[in-house]
């Protein structure tokens, strides 16, 4: 294929049609279509659902919109956000995408530092997948926030808040990773060689800072003891993210590098790494719930989440993958394990976010749970299904990953093996 060179980057001369309407992009568009339908739904609920206050009923009592708002207030559910479960599927997806994507980038940098030459050759495809997942995570969180007031993040920053720290974090992180990818793809070998070591070390440093901030985001919520008492939350995020990241790397290897000579060696390396981190995560799960507040532990291990925890998370993330990759076998077993850890890892994030809110804050004096309303029943378990719009956005965020990956692949042939260093 013809190429043009800009700043040492060899860019494929690809037609606009080939770039934007290839098979992968068509799938991405379909998924993004779902996402935009979800965004429409969420915007309608958030900004245009009928809501009224006591003053409105005094000012304009015959208004039909007020009547609908009153009907919803009495008989229906008002608004988008459930008071008892503020963080929902948006945060689950954000966590999963960002942590897993960063995990891929972290692992690639680590492997390069440790001189795994096979990883160096496929680093471009892994790194692009990682940054694409980060974009998908940010896409999800952007739809969750009230974008109309986002200017306050710049004009009135609380620099001690984990939520605010994400702004400078990703302002640095994304350009930094893109520069790393540039160094991998560029044919300015001398520059790449000179910068390789400091960039890799900084990359790992930035990743660690990212996981620290993410852990801070959760551990600052003093009332949610699943998050505040989970031992070494930052390391838990790192280890669990690595498991999912290796799953994604396994699937990418299968889809992109299957026909290549290095396929078996690469899968072997992923298998070993996955075995190590699955074992580490299993140990974490065994000991962590001994430290967490029993109210949360009981809900997750023996209460309403037990089926999802053992039948979903433990089985798919730890048990089945361990059995599949414990002994060296066919690479396909590693692919299968990769699929399991991808799904299981998502269930794990779901349990972590929803589990944090599952124990009601109304258990105030150790004498039982309070009711907010005289006619309601006191509940010792909080759960609310995500909105349909939320589900569409989450499914659609996969479209962001596919679109970013496809664009990079069309322009830079990232699927080809490279000898970078």
């Amino acid at each position: 294929m013809d190429k043009i060179e800009i700043l040492g980057l060899e860019i494929n001369k690809v037609s606009i049609f080939g770039l934007l309407f290839n098979k992968v992009m068509i799938i991405a568009y379909a998924l993004l279509g779902l996402a935009f339908f979800g965004i429409y739904e969420i915007i309608e609920i958030r900004y245009f659902s009928e809501a009224a206050n006591a003053h409105a009923s005094g000012l304009d009592p015959t208004n039909p919109e007020l009547r609908e708002a009153m009907r919803l207030a009495v008989f229906g559910t008002v608004g988008e956000v459930n008071r008892e479960i503020p963080w929902t599927l948006f945060i689950v997806n954000y966590m999963y995408m960002i942590y897993t994507g960063s995990g891929i980038i972290f692992l690639v940098a680590l492997a390069e530092l440790m001189k795994f030459h096979i990883v160096e050759k496929v680093a471009a495809s892994f790194m692009i997948a990682g940054i694409a997942m980060v974009f998908a995570g940010l896409f999800t969180i952007a739809t969750d926030l009230n974008i109309l007031n986002m200017l306050s993040m710049f004009t009135s920053p609380n620099i001690g808040a984990g939520m605010w720290l994400m702004l400078p974090l990703y302002s640095v992180y994304i350009p930094f990773v893109l520069f790393e990818i540039y160094l991998i793809l560029t044919n300015k070998r001398e520059l790449a060689r000179r910068l390789a070591l400091p960039i890799l070390v900084m990359s790992i440093g930035v990743d660690l800072v990212e996981y620290y901030i993410q852990a801070k985001l959760f551990s600052m919520n003093t009332a949610r003891h699943l998050w505040t008492e989970f031992p070494g939350l930052m390391f838990y995020f790192i280890i669990s993210a690595f498991v999912s990241s290796l799953g994604i790397m396994g699937v990418i290897t299968f889809l992109v590098h299957k026909g290549k000579l290095e396929y078996k060696e690469l899968m072997g390396l992923i298998r070993k790494a996955m075995l190590f981190f699955v074992s580490a995560l299993a140990l974490y799960e065994v000991f962590a719930y001994m430290a967490v507040d029993k109210d949360w532990t009981l809900i997750i291990l023996f209460g309403e989440f037990k089926t999802m925890y053992f039948g979903g998370y433990i089985l798919l993330t730890l048990a089945l993958p361990f059995l599949l990759i414990f002994r060296e076998g066919k690479p396909f077993l590693t692919v299968l394990a990769s699929v399991f850890v991808i799904i299981g890892g998502y269930i794990g994030r779901y349990i972590f976010v929803y589990g944090g809110n599952a124990n009601p804050m109304t258990d105030r004096f150790g004498t039982g749970y309070e009711k907010y309303d005289f006619y309601s029943v006191a509940s010792n378990f909080n759960y609310a299904h995500p909105h349909l719009g939320e589900i569409f956005i989450v499914v659609g965020s996969i479209g962001v990953i596919l679109a970013v990956y496809s664009l990079f692949d069309s322009l830079f042939s990232i699927g080809k093996l490279k000898d970078n260093h």
Partner: protein
């Protein structure tokens, strides 16, 4: 000034006049869980005899407010008098404050697309010296006042009565003082033996120290 509220919860008859007054006074959104204040209800038995406790609840306007620490834009902030408030024009709806609050005292007001909560009716303190919920309560459950004023009714009450807090272990130094009923031994059965009970003289130095440190950050 350091505003707070004492609650003689044993007087509560669950008439919900306070909830209604709050919605009317502050233009709170209509809806079952869109409440700045509410009456929490616990039921149980003491040696086979059933009891019901009614705990009027709202934002505790904590001195160490976690909702303020987690807010990325200072939409959640503490104003003069130690009142925790939300500026809806700065709220990006990250819902971090709702997660951080140990009392579930915050909700999303869909008319403003921002988090909303109790403000101790700060707009009417100068004129009326109290909140709408206190003014409406027919059984004098609530007593609003300034903890820094030794002559205020609330301080006088706290000097003569023992009190406890909701979720004191969260370490947020809440400012809703629940007055222990006169029959302390019996009442302990329904508020748990683990609940710490305080006296004003024992508690004041701790409060003053944190107030002195924190009040510099209060927006005046």
């Amino acid at each position: 000034m350091n505003y707070a509220m004492a609650l003689n919860y044993q007087n509560c008859i669950n008439c919900k006049a306070c909830e209604t007054a709050c919605k009317e006074e502050n233009g709170v959104q209509l809806g079952a869980d869109k409440q700045r204040i509410w009456i929490g209800i616990t039921e149980g038995t003491i040696f086979g005899k059933p009891y019901i406790n009614l705990y009027p609840s709202q934002c505790n306007h904590c001195l160490e407010a976690p909702c303020v620490s987690v807010c990325p834009t200072y939409a959640s902030h503490i104003t003069e008098g130690g009142i925790v408030k939300v500026d809806p024009s700065k709220c990006i709806l990250c819902k971090g404050c709702m997660e951080a609050c140990p009392y579930d005292a915050r909700f999303v007001d869909d008319t403003m697309v921002a988090v909303d909560k109790c403000t101790f009716c700060d707009h009417r303190i100068d004129e009326y010296g109290t909140t709408a919920c206190q003014a409406t309560c027919p059984t004098k459950v609530r007593l609003f006042g300034d903890l820094d004023d030794e002559d205020s009714d609330i301080v006088q009450l706290l000097k003569t009565k023992k009190f406890f807090f909701q979720k004191e272990d969260a370490g947020t130094l809440p400012k809703l003082f629940y007055i222990v009923p006169d029959d302390e031994i019996y009442s302990r059965q329904s508020i748990s033996h683990d609940t710490k009970i305080h006296t004003w003289n024992e508690f004041k130095p701790k409060y003053d120290a944190v107030r002195d440190a924190r009040s510099k950050e209060w927006i005046r």
